[in-house]
Amino acid sequence: MQPGTLSTFLKRGAIWGFIVLELIFFTVAGEFLSVSDKAFMDVDNMLLLFKQSAPIGIIAMGMTIVMINGNIDLSVGATYALCAIVLLDSMTWPMFAGLGDWVIPVSWLLALATGVALGALNGLIVWKTGVDAFIVTLGSMLGYRGLVFMYNGEQPTSHLNWTLVDFAEAQFLGLHTPTWFLLGVTVAIWFLMNRTVHGRNAYAIGNNREAAVNAGIRVGPHMMINFMIIGCLAALSAVVFYSESGSVNPNDGELYELWVITAVVLGGTKLTGGAGSIISTFGGVVAIQLLRKGLAHIGADTSTVNLVIGLILIAVLFLDRQLNVKGKEELKV
């Protein structure tokens, strides 16, 4: 066996092992603690799990690229809220009044364009100023949230379109509309990261930025594109979610950046960049939603859920560190 094979396997497989563990635990505990007669592993419940993972999951795919790049984007929650406002408000703009229900695709495109533009702004600042992405997006997180509040004050922005709701609630081949979007995004980003030059470059830049520059990779534009991708995905997440709910509070999407980063880190992506996997991020997203659902199923309250997720995140990071140390030691032999 090659040195480090076991630890690599553990790192790759850890999230799936964790998911299996959660399923077993909640199934058994649910038998005793849940007041519901339905089993936790009920098919409908598992389908809902994927659907409910979509808002965080779609953004997490973008965050994985950005983090593999060695950057981070804290503004996704605010971008999400701002795009939701554009989506819902544009449906009532008088200039689209003649479109009837054809206003829906127009509003979708407008929301996605807003997301891309906000992401591009982040990317441009990171590229041209060289300021750390953490600081830049911390600023834009506050700035974009400010725009959200400027738009409609403390009031929610609402537009309920039943055609849209029916579309968003539909189930095709048993899967809900948001699930299809989540799966589609996962496949697309997986392809991007594993089968294209852009994806290879993302890993190269995250591993060693200087070496990437020397190898002739145009690091600045590359990062800007990745910020545009995550902006677009934050917008897509808003499009998918608000098509179904039709009203956005000005504080919606707050803390989403943290849940997204948690999911990505649970999936094994390194905060320092250069390593990470889209499929494992998918696992991380599912693991978090499973935990939320499972703890609610056995009757734990929200604060317990947050506490448990926090503890698990720390445990995962610790485990990851230990495994890496071991891998290095074995290489020396």
Binding site: S34, V35, S36, D37, K38, D42, D44, N45, L48, K51, Q52, P55, E154, Q155, P156, S158, L160, V165, A168, E169, F241, E244, S245, G246, S247, V248, N249, N251, D252, R292, K293, A296, H297, G299, D301, T302, S303
Partner: protein, 318 residues
């Protein structure tokens, strides 16, 4: 049939009856709350709800909290529908965003009870009942408190009143203002409302509004504010300006309002208890499930509180 057999049969039948009624009477009620822990009203509400559910042997409660997150609340609605609970109580995080989720429950044949603050009118068709405070009556009662005090003081024919409303556009603000504006001329026809401005539920904003009123009007006998928070703001403005003898009446008695009443600076308010709110929500759900005729707007009582009867009430926790 000999005696023993008959006895066995009767016992079995009795056991069966008891068993089946007990089964039919056990109701699983799910609640998804807005944001427990954000203020003590909501925290007290949750505790009271859990206590009330435990006190009722026929109720099993699934108590969830959305943490102010609409997405999480919708997911909780879906989970409750999937678990096939008998009824769902929802404290909306957003009166419009939850309508599709409420419709889903309605389509699944699960009655939905909205608690504390109602959802938007588009969703009324999917709701079994709303349990919460009656804001119009609260406004009316505030008018009555004000008028009664003026009559005691013997100034009911000359008194002048200013009115500070809540945030424009909020149903609670609109309804309370309407109740007050309608009731005051009925009982004190000669009392004049000289001005009305929004205080946005905000103490500082309300204080500024009152400062402007004090400059503008030399004679103010009464102030009605849409809640005690704003009422105390107005009181602070009057104290700073050295104007005395003004009668302050609010609504939703806050701890600050209660304390100002103890000091004798603030006359009265409307007492709205989170415990009553929670109990009313659970009772509404139980009544709906038992097939009783429940009004669509099922209000719980929010009594008048003044300096005279305040010792009958506990100090509000919020």
């Amino acid at each position: 049939m000999d005696y023993r057999n008959a006895l066995a049969a009767t016992t079995a039948a009795a056991a069966l009856t008891i068993g089946s009624t007990a089964f039919a009477d056990t109701m699983t009620i799910g609640i998804t709350q807005n944001n427990v822990g954000v203020d003590s009203y909501q925290t007290t509400y949750e505790q009271a709800f859990i206590e009330a559910a435990e006190a009722n042997d026929n109720v099993e409660a699934v108590v969830l909290d959305a943490g102010g997150d609409v997405a999480r609340q919708i997911a909780q609605m879906e989970d409750l529908i999937q678990q096939e609970v008998d009824a769902i109580i929802i404290w909306p995080t957003n009166g419009e965003a939850v309508i599709p989720a409420v419709r889903k429950a309605h389509q699944a044949g699960i009655p939905v009870i909205v608690t504390n603050s109602n959802i938007a009118e588009q969703g009324f068709d999917f709701v079994a009942s709303f349990s919460g405070p009656d804001n119009i009556t609260q406004g009316k009662r505030s008018a009555e408190i004000m008028c009664d005090k003026f009559k005691d003081m013997g100034i009911e024919d000359e008194a002048k009143v200013v009115h500070i409303t809540g945030q424009p556009g909020y149903t609670t603000a609109i309804e309370r203002a309407k109740g007050f504006d309608d009731r005051l001329p009925e009982i004190c026809p000669n009392v004049e409302q000289i001005d009305k401005q929004p205080g946005d539920w905000n103490r500082e904003k309300s204080q500024k509004v009152m400062e402007a009123f004090l400059v503008k009007y030399d004679d103010i006998d009464g102030v009605y504010a849409g809640d005690d928070n704003m009422g105390v703001g107005a009181l602070n403005a009057a104290k700073a300006a050295g104007r005395e003898g003004i009668i302050f009446v609010g609504a939703t008695n806050f701890a600050v309002g209660y304390e100002a009443m103890e000091r004798g600076e603030y006359w009265g308010s409307i007492y709205q208890s989170p415990v009553d709110d929670a109990k009313a929500a659970l009772q509404t759900a139980v009544d709906v499930l038992e097939g009783e005729d429940v009004p669509f707007l099922n209000y719980f009582d929010t009594p008048k509180i003044t300096q005279e009867n305040m010792d009958e009430f506990d100090k509000p926790v919020f």
